[in-house]
């Protein structure tokens, strides 16, 4: 590296600083904290978190219902369809209602097939794209890695969603998910992508939880700050 780095110096200071152990005082002095119950060597892991985070039922139907409830609160449009054909019809309906003229997608089944069926000009991001062209699209149709019932989130990666920008630049993001992709919580979602990719991780992963939003003006919720104003999730099967 051409520019001088200071890691030796910083690491030496860290090691020196850590020679004196810090007291364990988990949870501060407040009355409800009490003595810590876990040991230093093994801080709590994802299995333990499940008992404290918001509860999720074990059955798929419960998880779909919780996802739907969360999506509604987040103002995301969640629909369950029985078949790919129905998904195609739902997409055609969205296209009509919103007056789409151009859509963007990526070459992956079943996403690409569904997008092409719309009969609109269709931009594929796979071989590279011009940012301005993607920006001009009315909707992006992508796949995903998982749906998370606990939070109503969609987990995408560069690989499952056609790159980094496709799922954030166009004003309407439509996610096509399959039944097997519903997971109970964030920990399971992270474990599932670990299983799929490690050690060859995609350079980008994101949990998308509802359409883009801001509360920066008087803490009043506005949808569509910089990312999509609309998020539709079609769960097939």
């Amino acid at each position: 590296m051409a520019y001088p780095d200071h890691r030796e110096e910083v690491f030496a200071r860290i090691r020196e600083a850590l020679r004196e152990p810090a007291p364990h005082r988990h949870g501060g002095y407040s009355e409800d904290a009490g003595e810590h119950t876990h040991t230093d060597e093994h801080p709590p892991d994802a299995e333990a978190f499940r008992a404290w985070l918001p509860a999720v039922g074990p059955r798929l139907e419960e998880q779909v219902a919780l996802f739907a409830q969360n999506a509604a609160q987040l103002k995301a449009d969640f629909r369950r369809v029985a078949t790919l054909e129905e998904a195609g019809q739902a997409l055609a309906g969205l296209s009509r209602e919103n007056g789409w003229k151009r859509v963007a997608t990526h070459r992956e089944t079943p996403v690409a097939v569904l997008a092409e069926k719309l009969g609109l000009p269709c931009l594929f991001t796979d071989a590279g794209y011009a940012t301005a062209e993607l920006e001009a699209c009315d909707a992006a149709i992508t796949g995903c890695d998982a749906l998370i019932a606990q939070t109503g989130s969609v987990l995408v990666t560069t690989r499952s969603a056609g790159g980094r920008a496709l799922s954030v630049l166009p004003p309407h993001h439509v996610v096509i998910a399959e039944r097997g992709q519903m997971v109970p919580d964030l920990a399971t979602a992270l474990q599932s992508v670990r299983k799929r990719y490690e050690p060859d991780w995609p350079s980008f992963l994101s949990f998308i939880t509802g359409p883009s939003r801001t509360g920066d003006i008087e803490r009043i919720l506005v949808l569509g700050a910089h990312g999509p104003k609309q998020l539709t999730i079609l769960l097939v099967g």
Binding site: R7, E9, G28, F204, T214, I217, E218, R219, A225
Partner: protein, 473 residues
């Protein structure tokens, strides 16, 4: 020096007297509180979750050398350029250098308090770059040439009308009192900037050691666009952002959102593990991660206060602090406001210059109660007070306490001075609250309580004469 304390007092006095301003802040924070409690209520056990978060951060910070080395090795293995900076100046210089080497003109930036801490924008502008803050709140304060008001809500002190006026003046937009329209104005401006920027700069909320990834939490999508479109991405973060394992995020992401913004999870929680990899369709060609010390190792060396490095910058302690609510974010004069700012600023910028912030506290402990990682904030304020006094005692306090001790040890003298006090006290009325009042720093804003007519000893004696004490019959 003393001017920091003076500036703070002056600004605090002004904001405290501004009822409109205080009303604005309190209304905004009230709605946050309602939402936060609603979503905290969904946890099966918030206090256990909080304790787990404290333990994980304890592990991370107390093995920082190991985890940081792992984080750096993992990032570098996938083509990320990691720069460790000892000081803010070194971090700035490195980023300016990257900008120069790549002939960068336009920079799009997502919110980063660490960048604020090292005054990165000023350095880049000085080097001839144009920097656009893309987060709506940050963009608003940037247009006003102001510092962020709050760690998480930078423009919470402004009304929609003030923002409309600002946009009218700076961007030539039509006046509007709709937050939605104002947001869309900023959206349109920023869309052009994402597409033409040569470099994107972001902060990070977490650094995952095990997989070598940074995690960015946001609601607007501006950080995603900042990190997707420009050909260079630079992330700047403090060395304390470390989390050991990827799955730790399953706890920290929801807790950050609930404690910080009253949300179950923020809209986008994104992980970045490198520049564009072979076979990927987009993303930056260069990914730089700048790890900043800037005296964090001094805080680390203080075992007693080390847990203040557990902070995840959620802002929950500001939101509940009665001092913050009344003096406002700008009065602090620091990058990090509120209780956490009062705790760490003396370490980062000098104890004697910033000790006054630790005195600006009612020690009510609301901050400690609110902290999702269990930092013992209000006790740290006391530690700062003690340390400041130990390091540089005030001569008049020493004399006053020596006098007090002298008196307390001599009962006769104590009684006499008590008597003298009650004789002369009525004279205080003559000067009460005026320029000659020796108690002016109290009586300026408060009533001085009247002295008791009897001392406790006298009362006890008199009482003993009237009625026999209740014995054990």
């Amino acid at each position: 020096m003393i001017t920091f304390a003076k500036d703070f007092k002056r600004a605090a006095a002004r904001v405290t007297a501004d009822l409109r301003h205080r009303g604005l802040i309190q209304r905004a924070l009230k709605s946050y509180e309602v939402k936060r409690d609603e979503f905290k209520g969904r946890y099966q056990n918030w206090s256990e979750a909080r304790q787990a978060a404290a333990e994980i951060k304890w592990d991370a910070i107390n093995h920082l050398d190991r985890y940081l080395a792992e984080f750096i090795a993992k990032l570098e293995a996938r083509g990320t350029r990691v720069h460790v900076a000892s000081t803010g100046e070194q971090a700035r210089d490195y980023i300016v250098q990257v900008a120069k080497e790549n002939a960068v003109r336009t920079i799009i930036k997502s919110k980063s308090m660490t960048a604020e801490e090292v005054e990165l924008n000023e350095a880049l502008e000085h080097a001839g770059c144009t920097v656009f803050e893309s987060d709506l709140g940050e963009y608003i304060v940037q247009l006003r040439h102001e510092k962020p008001y709050h760690l998480v809500f930078p423009a919470m002190h402004l009304t929609r009308d003030e923002i409309s006026d600002l946009f009218q003046k700076e961007l030539g937009s039509e006046p509007t009192n709709s937050p939605e329209e104002l947001t869309m104005i900023a959206r349109r401006v920023m869309r052009q900037n994402y597409c033409r920027a040569d470099m994107g700069i972001s902060g990070a909320n977490f650094a995952v050691a095990e997989t070598g990834m940074i995690s960015i939490t946001e609601n607007e999508g501006n950080a995603r666009l900042t990190t997707a479109l420009p050909k260079i991405h630079v992330a700047i973060l403090g060395i304390e952002k470390i989390l050991p394992k990827l799955e730790d995020l399953a706890l920290f992401l929801p807790m950050l959102a609930t404690a910080g913004a009253g949300q179950p999870l923020t809209c986008y929680n994104s992980l970045f593990g490198g520049p564009r990899q072979p076979g990927e369709v987009d993303g930056p060609e260069q990914f730089h991660v700048v790890l900043l010390d800037n005296r964090r190792t001094e805080l680390l060396a203080d075992a007693e206060q080390r847990d203040s490095l557990h902070c995840i910058r959620c802002g929950a302690c500001l939101n509940v602090c009665p001092i913050f609510k009344n003096v406002g974010g700008h009065s602090y004069g620091t990058t990090y406001q509120g209780p956490i700012g009062s705790v760490i600023t003396p370490h980062l910028r000098g104890l004697q210059n910033w000790k006054h912030l630790s005195a600006a506290s009612s020690l009510c402990g609301a901050c400690t109660e609110a902290c999702p990682v269990g930092i013992d904030l209000h006790h740290h304020l006391l530690h700062n007070r003690r340390n400041a006094m130990k390091e540089k005692p005030l001569w008049w306090e020493k004399i006053a306490y020596a006098g007090f001790v002298f008196l307390m040890r001599r009962p006769l003298l104590y009684r006499i001075s008590g008597k003298l006090g009650s004789i002369f006290f009525p004279l205080h009325k003559l000067v009460n609250g005026g320029p000659l009042d020796p108690l002016i720093s109290w009586t300026k804003t408060r009533e001085f309580p009247p002295l008791a007519k009897q001392s406790f000893q006298e009362y006890w004696k008199a009482k003993g004469k009237k009625e026999a004490p209740h014995g054990l019959s």
